[in-house]
Symmetry: C2
Subunit: 347 residues, 2 copies
């Protein structure tokens, strides 16, 4: 079976090779070989969404086909391979996690009035909010139907996951514009919105691949730590990322007043940062370019980005710790590679 | 077991007693007695939504607790009773259909920028669009979880139903503002958005109550016809309803340029009606009060409302035809009462 170089693999390679400390290029090739044609088959299934020529269908297809990292399906497939083999059930789990992710992006963009998504105009800009709301519902239902058809044993876990994600959304919505939350609240939100989906992708992928229950559970724990590390690095890249590589302008989260990990750390170190940000966000224009750049410098000066990277590294170490029970050495190495590339990425 | 006089029963009685031709009051009491404490228990379960004090939870609770007719749960319970008894599974189906209905209302209000719902400010007005989008997702997931827990055999049908409803939304969205659709397109939309939920409520309710498969299927068919009749009467009430009884201003659909059954009939009879409406909707102010009243008079003059009522009556007759296979005479009578009250209602 020939190894597939998917767009994600290419992108991972492109962004991670800049990091001199590790030979990521070789590791990526190993990862591709390990999954065989798994990712390509999942990609094909993702592009075989139900037919229909209404704005709703166009909106759903636009989001799914614009791409993205396909990180969650890759995790599901790696877990399946680690626990046994990439079965039809495992591919259904892989497709479902990406569809759930896509559904939340569609609804998030409506809620946040997002203009760009994955470097292209957001679906709601092209097809309207209405189409995006219902397209999100549609993808959610499609994910559930696929799991019901090919991996019915995972349906209860998928529904629990959806509840968890929505509890995360609920908490985030409640915190919106407040900037008075604790790191603890931040972590609850990220566990709900992001880490829980990684947990499910890994645990359900493993079970669907035939893993022993203890291995599946360990991989779920691995997924949760990976998800936390992933999000905190994402937060840090808003300050330290190279816009040309990230593919979006930086300081976006800051300008939106989003309570990210580095911002929360910085506000804890230097209370003036919170005061300046709150005052700027209360004005009609919000935080302009110059003010954002000045504030970012103050935030960097607190060491908040380093502390974020350290925190992500500690989650990454925790994640790796869960791999001990995985019997296959190749699988352990592949999963470890994912941790490395995601915590060392520059985009 | 004492018969419960639920808010819906009261409302049905209030609005239908004005219709002199049938003794609806007595029939309603019969219906209540037939369901025992079923509706009250479903109502209690509906009010036991997951706890949480965020805007999302408040938004979900607001919509569910503002009430509404609880027509879909009543249908599910009647079908359960007709097929056997009101089991825990049947109550789960009854709760789920109301939650699905509530979820679509939350998303519809965001999409249509609705201000009022059930005589109260729409949830999105009180808690914002974001909360309403995610609260709709939340109720959907809650409905699925309840069915998984108490009536797992109905989960595939519930997911198929959700797909059908979203295909209906997709088609309606596609037709929006076009006013060039056929009655055939209208019926496809209503079958998807409205009738399919009634079909599921009846069929799944019957199965969950222990009905034979042929009875459940017949009740599903009954539900679909009932749903069509219900929607067409709803459309007609926009022209002929008494605002004081309907609880909302009339001619709302007309002002929104919504392709309702009577409007489509009227445009077929008198093409000038479509031309006038299209011209008015293209202006910044839309259709003002005086113009709406004039246009409504033209529409009434085509006999479109009478034809709508006739169409609903024909669906009602079809619905009743499906009741022959129901073994229990009391159940047949109760279901027939629902058809009568819903097609003769003034609100």
């Amino acid at each position: 079976m020939e190894a597939e170089q998917t767009p994600f693999m290419e992108r991972l390679g492109r962004t991670a090779e800049r990091h001199g400390a590790i030979d990521v290029g070789a590791k990526i090739s190993e990862l591709s070989a390990f999954l065989g044609d798994g990712l390509a088959r999942v990609e094909a299934e993702l592009r075989a969404l139900p037919e229909g020529d209404t704005p709703l269908h166009a909106s759903a297809r636009h989001l799914v086909e614009t791409g993205g990292k396909r990180l969650r399906p890759m995790c599901a497939l790696l877990a399946a391979r680690a626990g046994g083999e990439i079965t039809e059930a495992a591919r259904a789990v892989a497709v479902a996690v990406e569809l759930v992710h896509a559904a939340t992006l569609l609804h998030d963009d409506v809620v946040d009035v997002g203009e760009l998504r994955r470097g292209a105009p957001a679906a709601r800009v092209l097809y309207g909010n209405a189409a995006s709301v219902f397209a999100g519902d549609y993808l959610l239902v499609d994910a559930l139907r696929r799991v019901l058809a090919a991996a019915p044993r995972e349906l209860p876990a998928l529904l629990s996951l959806l509840r968890e994600m929505l509890e995360g959304e609920a908490l985030q919505l409640d915190q919106r514009g407040r900037l008075d939350g604790s790191l603890d609240t931040y972590l609850r939100i990220v566990r709900g919105k992001t880490a829980s989906l990684f947990r499910f992708a890994l645990a359900a992928g493993a079970r669907a691949g035939g893993a022993r229950e203890d291995v599946a559970r360990a991989l779920g724990d691995f997924g949760e730590e990976l998800g936390l590390a992933f999000q905190v690095i994402d937060d840090a890249l808003d300050f330290s990322g190279d816009p040309a590589v990230v593919g979006k302008s930086t300081l976006t989260d800051l300008r939106e007043g989003k309570a990210t990990y580095p911002l929360l750390v910085a506000m804890g170190v230097d209370p003036r940062i919170g005061a300046v940000l709150r005052a700027a966000l209360a004005t009609a224009d919000g935080l302009d370019d110059a003010a954002a750049t000045r504030l970012a410098a103050d935030i960097l000066a607190t060491g908040a980005v380093e502390r974020s990277v350290e925190f992500a590294a500690s989650r990454a170490a925790e994640a790796r710790g869960h791999l001990d029970v995985v019997p296959d050495a190749d699988a352990r190495r592949a999963l470890s590679t994912v941790v490395t590339t995601l915590t060392h990425r520059r985009a």
